[in-house]
Amino acid sequence: MASGVKPRVKVPKKATAGDVITIKTLISHKMESGQRKDGDGNLVPRSIINRFTADFNGQNVIDVLIEPAVSTNPFFEFEAVVPEAGEFQFAWYDDDGTVYETGKKIAIG
């Protein structure tokens, strides 16, 4: 499924250099596990997001391998160090090869 996928990310707008901030991410996605059957008893094929990464100015923050046991609309919360002003890059990798990306800028102040 590649339609209606919308990533949402919550990052503070400002931080002090060296601060640890909390980031929350959510992406709307069915996360079809491949275990479910449709009305006719046929198995619904698996279609999930299998990887999520967060980077800051090219340096990795977290890299999550996702299995079908992660819920619909996968949600992740984690913490990151902000050494300088810059931009967070988030990427979700779909089973069908699509990569959903979004970025958030953060200022030092």
């Binding site: 340096q59 890299d63 046991a69 992660v70 050494p83």
Partner: protein, 140 residues
């Protein structure tokens, strides 16, 4: 009541058998296999890792789980009662603020959720939490 020698023996061996049964690991071998694949058979140490899960989850489709293990490079989550035990693996990069993460997972039935952390020194830590599930989350 006076116990005969025979009765005493029966009671004694019964207690022993019960203790041996209770001592067995509560989770299925599929999980053991998945864990062994990650650790290469290394010893698992209890403690040094925290797992936060609800005691009772009304809806097995979204169960909030949080893990944290200071000094970990990687934390993997396993659900012992799911058709496939692997849930998610968090790998922490250089800019990670704390070795923790939280997500929402699916649980098919009441079961133990196991977290295994790979530490910087190469050892493995484990923690588990039992979650009671009222409605399973894997479809039918």
């Amino acid at each position: 009541m006076e116990l005969t020698r025979r009765q005493t023996l029966t009671i004694g061996s019964g207690t022993f058998a019960f203790a041996a049964l209770a001592g067995l690991p509560a989770f299925a071998s599929l999980t053991d296999d998945a864990v062994a694949a990650m650790t290469n058979g290394a010893e698992l140490i209890d403690g040094g890792i925290d797992i936060t899960a609800p005691e009772i989850a009304e809806n097995g489709n979204t169960v909030p789980i949080a893990v944290s293990a200071p000094g970990a490079v990687e934390i993997a989550l396993f659900a012992s009662g799911n058709p496939t035990p692997a849930v998610a693996t968090f790998k922490f990069g250089p800019l990670s603020g704390s070795r923790s993460g939280s997500t929402r997972i699916r649980l098919a039935k009441t079961q133990d959720v196991v977290a295994i952390a790979k530490m910087e020194d190469g050892t493995f830590r484990q923690a588990s939490a039992t979650v009671k599930v009222t409605i399973g989350g894997c479809g039918g």
